[in-house]
Structures are given as C-alpha cells and as structure tokens.
Symmetry: C2
Subunit: 156 residues, 2 copies
DNA sequence: CTCAATAGTTGAGAATGGCAAATGTCTACA
DNA sequence: TGTAGACATTTGCCATTCTCAACTATTGAG
C-alpha cells in the first residue's frame, strides 16, 4: 500500500448523467476508502514505518513466512523494491530472511516476535471500524455485512 | 479507553476473538480497498502519471482551481511535495499555476483542457463499479446505497 | 507599523518504484 | 545426462515521493 499511495478522489459527482444506486453506493464507498488511506498512513507513521514497510509487515503470517515475490505481488510492485523494504525491516529486527528448504532460490520472510507485535498493532488499528459504520443499528450492521459478503462472494 | 469510548467499542479483539457483524463488514470493505488501490495504480500508469500526480489531478475542479496547500491537505502530505508534483503536471501541460487575486501568496492550480480530459478519464476509471457490487440485485444495490448513505451521513 | 502567521519554494537526505542486468537455482525436455 | 529456459533475488541507475528545516513574500491583527 503503500505508499501508498494517494487514493480515490472525493466524490466528484461527474455531472455527466444520472447515477444509478450502485454507482452512488460505490461513490460512498470510495469516500470511506479515502479516509481509510489516512488512517493507514498515520498508523504506519506511529510505528516509524514507511507505508510500504507497514504494508509488507501486515501481510506476514507467523509460521511459514512469505516469499519475497509474493510480497511483491501483494504490494503490486517490482520484486527489486521488496529487497530494500525487507532490508529495512530486517535491520530493525522485525523480520528475518529464511532460505526455503524446498527451493533454495526463494527466501521466506518471517516476522520476529517484535515484528508480530508491531504487525498486530497495525492490524488492530486498521481493523478499527470507522465511526459511521459503528453508528448503524445492529440490524443494519448485519444487513451491511450480508450484502457485502454476497457481493464479494460473487466476484471471487 | 474505557467502554464509554466509541472507538474502543469498535476495536476488534485481535487474538482469535469472534468478530461482530460490523467488524466483518469492515473486513470485507478493506478487501475492496485493497483491490481499489491496484485499479488506481494501473489507471495512473496508463496515463503515465505517478500516483501522487494522478491523485492531485483528480482533485481539481474546473473554474477556481485549488490552492496548493489544499492539495497538500487532500493528499495528506507536506506542501513541499506539492511543488514538485505540480511542477511535473505543469511541464506536461495538464495544469497551470495562477496567482490568486485575493491573496497573492496562494497559487490556484487550474487544469488545462488537456488536464480536464485526463482528469475525467481517471475519474471515470475509478467510478467504475467493482464487479461484485454490480452483481447484486437492483434491490440490494439500493439497500446498500441507503445503508452507506446513512452511515456516512452520521459520521459527517 | 510591527510582528506573528501563512503560502509557496528550495535543498538535503531517506525511501519507494520501475527497468535492466547479473547470479544462483530449479525444471522440463531432448 | 545435460542443457536450455524459467524463476527468485539482488544490484545499480534514475525519477519521484516524502519529510524536515530554512527562506521569501504576503497577509492580517494589534
């Protein structure tokens, strides 16, 4: 994520024709995502991590670790970037490189204990539900979850 | 951070805890954000713009333009970044700097005709509704819009 | 008029991001 | 078996983003 990256615009209301309900819903969602980007940046900054470093760290799971090329794929960036990102995470004692036993070309990136703590703290910050959603009634919250689950199940 | 704090109330239990419907809904939404980021990156790349440049361009409106410090605020970055970003947009003929008449310190960044075309193309790409949402029934689409409208109205 | 605050720019230094080249390792195939 | 091609990672180069601190010009308040 980076860095991420600047994200969607605030709803511009393109003035080009009427918008359908689903388009309006999507415009609202983009607003939410826009706010989310700031949360991500400030969470990363709080732990003195650059957005890309935080993004990489958050992807790691405990046991196996992730090959660098998979991190690159998740972050949508070139593998050569991951080298530097992992270098810095490793220098701070947050991850270690471990050569894969099954394929000596690949290096599994495994979080250290410290790395797991930071990762979990970051995940917790991002898992915090935005204010607006929390204010919906319990029934509406369930409804929203069900709608989204249906929508994303259909696309996956 | 007691139970009275609404932010704390929506904080998920990191470790193995069961998640509430609203937390599940939010987790689904973050998936969407993830996908959305890639769309943004590829849309920007398609127009040979770096993400920050595309982000800035998409914020501009036709008539007044935006002061640079407002662009910085929208992009959540330092004003000094915006200097360079606008430099490159200007070099490519996408925007112009116009000194504000009301305050000669500020420069309004106004899109050129070409800039408007690119901006609209970018906005159109980002306005494209993700597959999953489009597969919902018409009724569900309206329901989703209404839920989100209610949630975001409450937070704004 | 003076002075603090604001808008933008500049410069230095770290980091990201893409591309091309190089190394070491695997795998398919003849 | 051996060899060619594919793959994972690293390195170097260069453009860009980003933060911080300093600087200029301008504004507005007292």
């Amino acid at each position: 994520m980076g860095p991420m990256n600047p994200a969607a615009a605030t709803t511009p209301d393109l003035s080009t024709g009427p918008s359908s309900p689903v388009q309006e819903a999507w415009a609202l969602l983009r607003n939410l995502l826009f706010i989310e980007r700031r949360r991500f940046l400030s969470a990363a900054a709080e732990y003195d991590l650059h957005p890309a470093q935080a993004g990489a760290l958050m992807q790691l799971e405990r046991d196996e670790g992730l090959p660098m090329h998979e991190i690159a794929s998740l972050l949508a960036c070139d593998s050569s970037n991951v080298t530097g990102i992992v270098d810095r995470l490793e220098a701070r004692g947050l991850v270690t490189r471990r050569v894969s036993e099954r394929d000596r070309r690949v290096k599994q990136i495994v979080p250290t204990e410290l790395g797991l703590e930071v990762r979990d703290a970051l995940r917790a910050r991002m898992a915090q539900v935005p204010e607006g959603l929390g204010l919906l009634s319990a029934g509406d919250q369930r409804l929203l979850r069900d709608l989204l689950a249906r929508a994303l199940a259909a696309s996956a």
